[in-house]
C-alpha cells in the first residue's frame, strides 16, 4: 500500500489572461521511507505538483490520497519546506520557530514541544544558535532550521521544494549530506523537487522525470541509491537522464 498516491492529476491555474495547464495526467506513488524526487526543467510543473500535494491547490482532474485520506487543503501531516529563506517566522527565535507547529498543529504541551524541538535542533547541529533570531543566521542555517521544524512534526511525508537551490555550492553539498544522514537515522518519507540532475541522483532513491509544457511523466528512475560515485555510475546516470530530458529539444530547435 503506497503512502502517497497521485493518480491522473491534471493541474491548471489561472493567470490574468489565460488558464495554464501545469501538469497533465501525472501519476506516481510514493512508498514509506522513499526519497522520491520530482525532476525536470523549469515549466514542467514540478513545484506546482508539490504545492498540490501540499494541499494549496486542487487538481482539475484525478485524485491524490495520503494514507487513505483524500487531500483537501493544507495540513500538518504534510510539512512543506520551501526554497525561500523567509519561511522562518522572523519574530520567533530558532527554538520558538521549531516549537510553533508542535504547539499550534500538534497541540503538544510547552514542555513536550520544547524537548522535541531541542532534540531536532541538535540533530541538525544548531544547538549553538537555539535562541538566535532568524535574521542573524546564514542561509544554510535557516534551511537547517526549516528542516528541523518539518522533521520535528514527524509528518507522514516531508515536501521539499528545492530547499537547497538558493545556497552556495559548498553549503548545498553539506546540506545534502546532512539530509541523507538524517534520513538514515529516522527513515522519514520525503518528496523532493529539484531541477538539478546531480542533486536528484544524490538525494533520491526514485526519480520521476517530467517533461515541460505541460508537465507529463517521461520516465521513472528506480534504485537510484544503488549507483555509486566511485565507479562513475552516477556520472553515467546523470548523462543518460540529461539526454532523456533534453532529447526533444535538439530536434525542436
Amino acid at each position: 500500500m503506497a503512502l502517497l498516491d497521485v493518480s491522473g492529476v491534471t493541474l491548471r491555474y489561472k493567470t490574468s489572461s489565460a488558464v495554464v495547464t501545469a501538469t497533465e495526467r501525472v501519476s506516481f506513488t510514493v512508498d514509506k521511507s522513499d526519497r522520491f524526487v520530482l525532476l525536470g526543467p523549469s515549466g514542467c510543473g514540478k513545484s506546482t505538483l508539490l504545492k498540490a500535494v501540499g494541499g494549496y491547490m486542487s487538481p482539475s482532474e484525478g485524485r491524490m490520497t495520503i494514507g487513505d485520506r483524500e487531500i483537501h487543503g493544507p495540513g500538518a501531516d504534510r510539512m512543506m519546506i520551501f526554497q525561500e529563506f523567509d519561511q522562518l517566522l522572523p519574530w520567533k527565535s530558532v527554538l520558538a520557530n521549531v516549537m510553533f507547529p508542535l504547539l499550534t498543529a500538534r497541540k503538544l504541551s510547552r514542555k513536550d514541544a520544547e524537548a522535541k524541538a531541542r532534540a531536532y535542533i541538535e540533530k541538525v547541529g544548531l544547538t549553538r544558535v537555539v535562541d538566535a533570531y532568524p535574521h542573524t543566521l546564514s542561509g544554510g542555517m535557516k534551511q537547517r532550521v526549516a528542516i528541523a521544524r518539518g522533521m520535528a512534526m514527524e509528518p507522514d511525508i516531508l515536501l521539499m521544494d528545492e530547499p537547497f537551490a538558493a545556497l552556495d555550492a559548498l553549503t548545498r553539498r553539506t546540506c545534502q549530506d546532512e539530509l541523507l544522514q538524517l534520513w538514515s537515522e529516522t527513515k522519514f518519507t520525503v518528496l523532493f523537487v529539484t531541477h538539478s540532475i546531480a542533486e536528484a541522483i544524490r538525494i533520491g532513491n526514485r526519480i520521476l522525470l517530467l517533461s515541460p509544457h505541460p508537465g507529463r511523466v517521461k520516465a521513472e528512475v528506480v534504485d537510484v541509491d544503488k549507483v555509486s560515485n566511485e565507479d562513475g555510475g552516477a556520472g553515467r546516470l546523470e548523462k543518460e537522464i540529461h539526454d532523456l530530458l533534453f532529447a526533444g529539444e535538439a530536434t525542436a530547435h
Binding site: G54, P74, A76, L89, P90, W91, T104, A105, Y133
Partner: protein
C-alpha cells in the same frame, strides 16, 4: 603536462603587525556617536536662543523668557493644575485611540477576508483619510453635544484611517511563503491573522499606530481649544486657551511645552521601546 602545486604561506608574525586591526574610540567620539547626546546638544542650543531672545525682547506678554516659562511650569505642576489637565486630555485620548484601533482592526479583518471588504476599505480610506478630523468637530458638536462624545468621535476619525490603511498594506505585503507556512500548520481565520499576519506585518502596523497617535494628539489639543470644558474639567488645550484669555502668556507657553513633552515622551520613549523590542530585534526593520 604539469601538475598544480599548492604553495603554503607562512602566517604573519603577530608582533610585526604595524597596522592596528582594531582601535578603541575616544570618549568624545563615543559620546558624539550617541544620537541622544547630539539631540540634547541641539535642545540646549535652542533653549539658549529662546532665553537670549526673551531677555532682549523683554516683553513677557509677547514672548516670555525660558526661565519664566519654566518657573510657571514648575508652579503649575506643583499646584496640580497641569498634571490634572494633562490627565484629562490623556483619558479622552486613550478612549478615542483604543476605539479607533478596535474599529481599524474590524475593518482590516473584513478587508482581508473578502474582496468586497478590500474595496470597501480602500474606497472609504481614500475618501476620509484626507479629511482633517478637526473639520468634523462642528458636526460632532451637533450630533454629540459639548462633551467627551464629540472629542472621542473626532479622535476615532483621526486614528481609524491611518491605522487601517497601514495595517491593510502591511497584511498585503506579507510574503506568500509565510502565508503558506501558516496554512501548512492548519491555521485559518482569526488564529491565522493573530499568529501569522499581525506579527509579520507588525512594522507597518506600528507605523500606522505612530501616525494615528500623532494625528490624535494634535487633533485633541486643537479640539480642546474650541471647547474643552466638560463636567468642569478641561484638558491641556483648554488650559492654553484659558490662560491666553487671562493674558498669562508664560502659562500659555508652559501649556505648549507640556504638549510637546508628552508628544516627545510617547514618540521617543514608548514607541521607540516597542520598536527596539519587536521589529528591530527581529531584523525586519533597521
Amino acid at each position: 603536462m604539469g601538475e598544480a602545486r599548492i604553495l603554503l604561506r607562512d602566517a604573519p608574525v603577530a608582533a610585526s603587525g604595524a597596522d592596528e586591526v582594531e582601535r578603541k574610540l575616544s570618549v568624545a567620539e563615543l559620546l558624539w556617536n550617541d544620537g541622544f547626546v547630539r539631540k540634547t546638544v541641539i535642545i540646549l542650543f535652542l533653549a539658549a536662543v529662546w532665553e537670549a531672545y526673551g531677555v532682549t525682547l523683554d516683553n513677557p506678554l509677547l514672548f516670555p523668557t525660558l526661565h519664566d516659562t519654566i518657573a510657571t511650569l514648575y508652579d503649575r505642576v506643583k499646584d496640580g493644575t497641569i498634571p490634572m489637565r494633562a490627565w484629562t486630555s490623556l483619558k479622552v485620548l486613550f478612549m478615542g485611540y483604543s476605539a479607533g484601533i478596535v474599529l481599524a482592526a474590524i475593518f482590516t479583518i473584513l478587508a482581508i477576508s473578502t474582496r468586497i471588504g478590500t474595496d470597501f476599505l480602500e474606497t472609504v480610506t481614500a475618501m476620509f483619510n484626507p479629511l482633517p478630523a478637526i473639520a468634523l468637530l462642528p458636526l460632532a458638536l451637533i450630533w454629540f453635544g459639548l462633551g467627551n462624545g464629540s472629542l472621542v468621535f473626532v479622535l476615532i476619525h483621526s486614528v481609524l484611517w491611518p491605522v487601517a490603511l497601514n495595517t491593510h498594506s502591511g497584511f498585503k505585503s506579507v510574503s506568500n511563503t509565510l502565508r503558506m507556512v501558516g496554512r501548512n500548520y492548519g491555521l485559518r481565520g482569526l488564529p491565522y491573522v493573530a499568529k501569522i499576519l499581525i506579527p509579520a506585518a507588525f512594522g507597518s502596523i506600528l507605523a500606522g499606530l505612530k501616525i494615528g497617535w500623532a494625528f490624535a494628539w494634535r487633533t485633541l489639543i486643537a479640539a480642546e481649544l474650541v471647547f474643552g470644558v466638560s463636567s468642569g474639567q478641561g484638558g491641556l488645550g483648554w488650559f492654553i486657551f484659558e490662560n491666553r484669555n487671562l493674558l498669562d502668556i508664560p502659562a500659555v507657553f508652559a501649556g505648549l511645552l507640556t504638549v510637546i513633552i508628552i508628544g516627545l515622551f510617547v514618540e521617543n520613549l514608548i514607541f521607540r521601546a516597542i520598536e527596539r523590542n519587536t521589529v528591530q530585534k527581529w531584523g525586519t526593520q533597521s
